[in-house]
């Protein structure tokens, strides 16, 4: 049997091609300079090897011109590479507005995935091809890193905060998902798969029809938690409760008791659930107890999905929350 010896990873996302172009350019550049230096060393070593007769060389031949040349040329080249890499990075860091949202929580030693429509997965992530997918990441314990080599994307999942990455898969298949940040005993076993599917297949999978009962959406699950945890006793749909109403809060600017204001993004909502005393809405008493330890990161995400679904005029599609944030911030509506 001839063993497998791949030398180059599969290209399965829209960013894989552009990233690889820079890679090949740098290989060509590196090969050129390595061969130049090695070639000169070998040529000089042969031509000027130690012999009885000694060649005299003029002192400091062309020194200044050479020094300037080999300082300026590498600098110019490196700025070209810098610019190229920076442009790629900005593309990689900026999810398109129409991205499908999914959530991944790292936990020693597995990935827990959630889809807004309610399907949950462990160590597998189903995604459609031809559509950008934004993965929001966090961790239950230590730092993990979400790495899909075939898509050329990687992002650390940091406990206590949300990070994200995005990709657009280009061909159906199963791709390695690795944890790339050392996280303890079974770090190397914290691996999974991203399964890219045709959009129709993905929709069928997402609605869970192959399993019978349709899954409960994240917002719906969040609503149940909201009731079960007793949140609803203080946070009512109008401002009559002991806590502020949460209708239209997500993405809006919130006035705080210290006079400043904050945009109620998912990071703020998460903090308000787990460390409510940190930044209290103006006009309310700091009486909310912490839910740290009572809810897991996956449940926090469900609560946030529910809060984001609380709109007074019909329901807002969740994909638009990101855009709404900036608009809401300028409007200055308080929660």
């Amino acid at each position: 049997m001839i063993p497998e010896l791949p030398l180059f990873p599969e290209q399965a996302s829209t960013m894989a091609g552009p990233v690889d172009q820079l890679y090949f350019f740098l290989i060509a550049l590196s090969a050129f300079f390595s061969l130049l230096v090695a070639g000169l060393i070998i040529a000089f070593s042969i031509r000027y090897r130690r012999r009885r007769v000694r060649l005299e060389r003029p002192e400091d031949f062309g020194m200044l011109q050479l020094e300037i040349g080999w300082t300026v040329l590498p600098f110019v080249l490196s700025m070209v590479i810098f610019y190229w890499g920076a442009m790629l990075f900005i593309d990689l860091r900026r999810p398109p507005a129409d991205s499908l949202e999914v959530f991944a929580v790292g936990k020693r030693w597995m990935w827990k995935m959630q889809h807004l429509e309610g399907r949950r997965e462990i160590n597998e992530l189903h995604v459609p091809i031809g559509q950008p997918v934004k993965v929001t990441l966090t961790s239950e314990d230590v730092i993990h890193s979400f790495f899909v080599p075939a898509f050329r994307v990687k992002q650390d999942a940091v406990p206590g905060r949300y990070t994200d990455l995005w990709f657009e898969a280009t061909k159906p298949g199963r791709y390695h998902l690795f944890c790339a940040e050392f996280c303890g005993s079974q770090h190397a076993r914290m691996i999974g798969q991203v399964i890219a599917m045709e959009p129709a297949d993905f929709q069928a999978w997402l609605s869970g029809t192959e399993r019978g009962a349709a899954p409960v959406s994240m917002a719906e699950a969040g609503k149940r938690l909201f009731t079960d945890l007793g949140c609803v006793t203080c946070h009512q749909t109008d401002d009559s409760g002991r806590g502020p109403s949460l209708v239209n809060v997500a993405g809006s600017a919130v006035e705080l008791s210290d006079g400043s204001s904050v945009v109620a993004d998912s990071a703020y909502l998460r903090e308000s659930i787990l460390r409510p005393q940190q930044r209290v809405t103006a006009g309310y008493q700091p009486i909310m107890p912490t839910y740290q330890g009572l809810v897991g990161e996956d449940q926090v995400l469900e609560l946030i999905a529910y809060i984001e679904s609380l709109r007074d005029r019909g329901s807002t599609p969740l994909g638009e929350v990101t855009q709404r944030k900036t608009e809401a911030a300028t409007e200055g509506t308080a929660g």
């Binding site: 550049l29 000169l40 000089f44 590479i81 790629l88 593309d91 406990p159 190397a188």
Partner: protein, 543 residues
């Protein structure tokens, strides 16, 4: 050339006194350098055995040799021993200690007692770390990332961190000693621009020791504090920030890379003129580039954090500065290459190491550009590409430089010659073994194999087998110098004062030098590397 008979009988630093006491209480910089040589060789052996275990385990995708936790402890031991207890002290503490006073015409370092204290602190730190390893080990990796190190790991993190903390003071005091010595104790006429480039490199390194090491010391201490007292600094569950740790850690640990490579560059800058019989090309540019690297090196730490959640703007700035720091390194490579032009080039073992250094450092530096490129780093970050890159710098660069320097100055250190042909063969074995070990790892990394993986998908196996085969050759190559250096101490041919016909004040003393180095303080009247004035027909003394 016949050996100088006086060096056999004359009092030198080795035969002036015998017995354990005379070594453990010595204040002679040469003896202290020798103490470091022995200590870091032990650490190198420990780190090397761990590397061997890692490579053997990676022969199979299932990692059949050891369990998960054992593997994690092995790579941690490898990293901690090699970085903190071998590479950081290697050239400065061994060759720097031995050579700086000799090169500047001084009788010792400015603070001989402090110098001995530095060694004891180093031994204490190393001892604490070895204790941590022997009583169960540490599994955080040498990077001690939080919150894993403070909350997640149930291994001996606290004692290992204390070991690193303690040994840091050894670096700080050594750096201080070197800076004061270079400023205050240069021989008459030895102006700054007449200093050997090795001394310039040590000067730049000392700046990093003094400015950087306190930061790592306080950082690992904070880890120990958070771990033992539950004071929230880095752990978000306690209200801390895990990314803060990464900033503090890399603020030292990136400059630490330059602690490892700058002295090696200094060694190469001494060897190349000697074996080309040429004045070094671009002396001022090489000297200034060392300082530029030391200073710019403090401003690039964030390039380890492009996927950590650091802001895009910060990443852009760190990427830009990382490209900037590549320039002085490139300048050095071109200057060394130009020094070969119209030389009279000999290929004794030190020169083979120096040429190997240039080749491997060039590849290591160029692959650094891949990592500094933001969009590309996202893919290769924390993969074997990074592992390959920094081994090209630290092993291909720093260790090749260290071995080249040991061979070059061995006649001065020991008073004996090492076996030249065996040394040349070893240098070639090490060069080939190194490339076979680490080149496949670039490919593995781009394929997506993450670092610190004990088990891996089967399609990565062939490249891992190449790497392990290379590591076996490399390990054998490293054994040879250890054996023949030890052998030559007793059985080697007696070295003359200047077997390489080299310029530099250290060669003006007998081999080995007397306890006080110079009977009379030398007066320097020329620029360094006056090789054009040495008769080319003269033979070198080799065994």
């Amino acid at each position: 050339m016949t050996p100088d008979p006086s060096s056999r009988t004359a009092v030198n630093y080795l035969n002036v006194d015998y017995g354990v006491r005379s070594w453990l209480l010595t204040k002679d910089h040469k003896r202290i350098g020798f103490l470091y040589l022995v200590s870091i060789t032990v650490m190198f052996a420990i780190g090397g055995l761990a590397a061997l275990a890692i490579r053997l385990d990676l022969l199979t995708p299932a990692g059949d040799l050891m369990g998960d936790d054992t593997y994690n402890k092995m790579f941690t031991m490898h990293g901690v021993a090699m970085v903190f207890f071998f590479l950081v002290p290697s050239i400065p503490a061994v060759l720097g200690n031995f050579l700086i006073p000799l090169m500047i015409g001084a009788r010792d370092l400015a603070f001989p007692r402090l110098n001995l204290a530095s060694w004891y602190i180093f031994i204490l730190g190393g001892g604490i770390t070895l204790y941590a390893v022997l009583t169960g080990g540490v599994d955080t990796g040498w990077t001690f990332y939080t919150p894993y190190s403070t909350e997640g790991s149930n291994t001996n993190v606290t004692s290992a961190a204390l070991g690193v903390f303690v040994s840091g003071f050894s670096s700080i005091l050594t750096g201080l000693n070197f800076l004061v010595t270079i400023h205050r104790m240069r021989a008459p006429g030895l102006r700054w621009l007449r200093l050997p480039l090795f001394v310039w490199a040590q000067y730049a390194t000392s700046i990093i020791f003094i400015l950087g090491t306190p930061v790592i010391a306080i950082t690992v201490l904070l880890v120990a504090v958070e771990r033992s007292l539950d004071i929230g600094i880095f752990d978000p569950a306690l209200g801390g920030d895990p990314i803060l740790f990464q900033h503090l850690f890399w603020f030292y640990s990136h400059p630490a890379v330059y602690i490892m490579i700058l002295p090696a560059m200094g060694v190469v800058s001494e060897i190349i003129p000697c074996f080309t019989r040429n004045k070094i090309f671009g002396y001022k540019f090489i000297a200034v580039s060392s300082l530029a690297i030391a200073l710019l090196g403090f401003l690039v730490w964030g390039h380890h954090m492009f996927v950590s959640g650091q802001s895009v703007n910060a990443s852009l700035i760190f990427s830009f500065l990382s490209f900037a720091v590549a320039i002085p390194s490139a300048v050095k490579v071109f200057n060394w290459t130009a020094t070969l032009y119209k030389g009279s080039i000999g290929f004794e073992a030190p020169m083979l190491y120096a040429l190997g250094f240039i080749g491997l450092f060039t590849i290591g530096g160029l692959t650094g550009l891949f990592l500094a490129s933001l969009g590309l780093d996202v893919h290769v970050h924390d993969t074997y590409f990074v592992v390959a890159h920094f081994h090209y710098i630290m092993v291909g660069g720093a260790v090749m430089g260290y071995l080249g320097g040991l061979h070059f100055w061995w006649p001065k250190i020991s008073g004996k010659l090492y076996p030249e042909w065996l040394a040349r063969v070893s240098a070639v074995i090490i060069f080939l073994g190194f490339n076979l070990t680490f080149f496949p790892q670039f490919v593995l990394g781009y394929l997506g194999m993450p670092r610190r993986y004990h088990v891996y998908p089967p399609e990565f196996q062939v490249l891992n087998v190449f790497s392990t085969a290379g590591a076996s050759i490399l390990g054998f190559g490293y054994l040879l110098p250890i054996v023949y250096f030890a052998w030559s101490m007793r059985y080697g041919k007696v070295a003359s004062a200047n077997p390489w016909n080299a310029a530099g004040l250290e060669w003006a003393t007998p081999s080995p030098p007397p306890p006080d180095n110079f009977a009379e303080t030398p007066v320097v009247e020329d620029d360094p590397y006056g090789y054009t004035r040495i008769d080319p027909g003269e033979e070198l003394q080799v065994a």
